[in-house]
């Protein structure tokens, strides 16, 4: 399976992010380059401090680079954000407790300028895609953690961005819920062919979801290896017990250890 010959959605070129600190500077990212094509599902995986979240935030224009350039859809990161080119899912659901589920999903649509009726119908559609029809009137605290995250994903689908960025969205959930949500996310991606950049520190999750896995390592944050996944796109959770899956997971694990052992800085 060769990588898609479609347009490049995200171009990260020689990006470094350095934080000045009192004693010595902290290099979150050191000369990282990455290109992500349309329709890919790319995971960024690595131990804490490897810069995977920083890389995601840099693409989303939530942080600025110290050197290098980031282009999304051909635009600079800031312009892409102002053009509302992507949806971002945080580690926590970040739902507004004073709005019900429907109201929360409508939030980006309202800001985008849609009138109330149109926003609500679009929101209902998104909720159906994540399987939460019937919960529109509930409030966030009435939902379980997994359901709250699904609302957060439905909200991120908001104005149909082609690019979806997710920062360890299932990290706080138990394994069983996580598996279910992984499968739902995969089905969503398969149906709609969006580009997804996904940060995780779980190897099985990365291997299961991605078409490409980017292994990163800390101090300084950099890319160690990029692994292509050859798994068929209509895979289900059962694939995790197959030898192909285990082989890829093994490659990821080796790369992680290499990156960790090799960081003698």
């Amino acid at each position: 399976m060769s990588p898609p010959a479609a347009a490049t959605v995200v171009e990260v070129e020689h990006v470094s992010v350095v934080y000045p600190a009192k004693e010595n500077t902290v290099t979150a990212l050191a000369d990282v380059s990455l290109a992500i094509g349309e329709g890919e599902f790319v995971s960024l995986i690595g131990p804490s401090g490897c810069g995977k979240t920083t890389l995601l935030r840099v693409i989303a224009d939530l942080e600025t680079v110290s050197s290098g350039s980031v282009r999304v859809n051909g635009l600079a990161a800031r312009d892409a954000r102002l053009a509302r080119a992507y949806g971002y899912v945080f580690q926590a659901p970040a739902l507004f407790p004073w709005r019900n589920v429907l109201g929360n999903v409508c939030l980006p649509l309202e800001i985008h300028g849609l009138d109330k009726a149109k926003a609500e119908s679009v929101a209902r559609e998104h909720l159906e895609r994540v399987g939460l029809t019937g919960f529109e009137g509930k409030y966030p605290w009435q939902l379980s953690g997994g359901m709250q995250q699904r609302v957060s994903i439905a909200r991120a689908l908001g104005f149909e961005p082609k690019l979806l960025m997710m920062d360890e969205p299932f990290g706080a959930l138990d394994e069983i819920t996580r598996d279910r949500l992984n499968e739902q996310l995969l089905r969503l991606w398969e149906r709609e062919k969006r580009t997804v950049v996904f940060v995780t520190h779980s190897i099985p999750e990365a291997v299961f979801l991605s078409s490409r896995i980017v292994v990163m390592s800390p101090r300084p944050g950099r890319i160690v290896e990029v692994i292509e996944s050859g798994l068929p796109s209509d895979r289900t959770l059962e694939i995790r017990d197959t030898p192909e899956f285990t082989a890829i997971a093994h490659r990821v694990r080796v790369a992680l250890q290499e990156g960790h052992g090799g960081s003698g800085h």
Partner: protein, 303 residues
């Protein structure tokens, strides 16, 4: 919060009537004890005067009880005396007569409400300015916080005198006192509330390229409401005290504070207590009104 959940799961299940009784029963019991203690205290405190002035030698305890609970100027009036005085005052006189406590209640509450509205508006305006201006936040806000430790009510006589010398009397000076008592808690609470959204919510709106106005109206304002309402309750209770105090210095004729003052000048204990009960009821009504508004304006019930 987890502790409360565990606690709740340990509590026995109750029917609706059982729940009401569970909540109201102890309060009624306490009030009942207070009532009995009050009567005993009334008998006790009034006894000295009664024995000296009213009773003939060879009196029995029934006479003592009867007399102590129906004095004209008791040291401590009995609850039923206060209730009767209230009833007579409210229903025995036309509503615009100074003999009707409701007239005085209206005078005081109108000053309180006017001051409350002005104080809340001023507090909200100031809070918005402080949240958006670093200079005001660093220079002015510390003074506002510090002023909460100062007995601001001490300025009441000055306000009356200053506004009086400018020709303003009646409701307005009292409302001004209420206003600046309200605005301190409202400002402090609103600044806290407007700043309460966390980094994650702010970044969320950042990813929507939301304007400052959007962020203000869609995030900061709704997030500040849970902080606002408790401070409104405090504010309106403080405003009521302000209005009452405003009626003291120049010997005003109308209002609950004036009634308290005249009652104390003429030694009319029952009048003092009636005015006090009325003021207490007014306080309850005003804060209850704010709580009602809170329930109506906060969507989805409890947070």
């Amino acid at each position: 919060m987890a502790a409360a959940a565990i606690e709740a799961s340990r509590a026995p299940a109750r029917s609706a009537i059982g729940e009401t009784w569970h909540r109201a029963g102890p309060v009624l019991a306490v009030l009942g004890v207070v009532l009995v203690a009050w009567y005993l205290a009334a008998i006790g405190l009034n006894a000295a005067q009664v024995i000296e002035r009213e009773l003939e030698p060879g009196w029995a305890w029934q006479d003592l009880v009867r007399h102590t609970l129906s004095m004209d100027r008791p040291v401590l009036p009995a609850p039923h005396q206060i209730a009767l005085d209230l009833y007579d005052s409210i229903f025995g006189w036309p509503l615009d007569s100074p003999r009707n406590l409701l007239f005085h209640t209206w005078v005081t509450s109108s000053a309180t409400l006017l001051g409350f509205v002005m104080g809340t508006a001023l507090g909200a305006l100031l809070a918005v300015l402080i949240v958006h201006s670093r200079t005001l936040d660093r220079g002015l806000f510390p003074w506002i916080i510090a002023s909460q430790t100062v007995p601001v009510l001490a300025i009441a006589p000055i306000v009356i005198v200053i506004l009086g010398s400018m020709g303003m009397t009646g409701v307005f000076p009292k409302a001004v006192i209420s206003m600046y008592l309200c605005f301190f808690p409202v400002t402090v609470a609103l600044v806290k509330g407007l700043r309460s959204p966390g980094v994650i919510e702010l970044e969320l709106l950042h990813t929507y390229a939301a304007s400052r106005g959007d962020t203000f109206w869609k995030l900061r304002v709704p997030a500040s409401l849970p902080f606002l309402f408790p401070s409104l309750r405090i504010g309106i209770a403080a405003g009521l005290v302000g209005a009452i105090v405003g009626e003291l210095p120049t010997g005003a004729q109308a209002g609950l504070g004036a009634r308290l003052l005249t009652g104390s000048y003429y030694g009319n204990t029952v009048q003092i207590w009636s005015a006090l009960v009325m003021a207490a009821l007014l306080g309850l009504a005003l804060t209850g009104g704010v709580s009602l508004a809170e329930r109506l304006l906060t969507p989805g019930g409890r947070r």
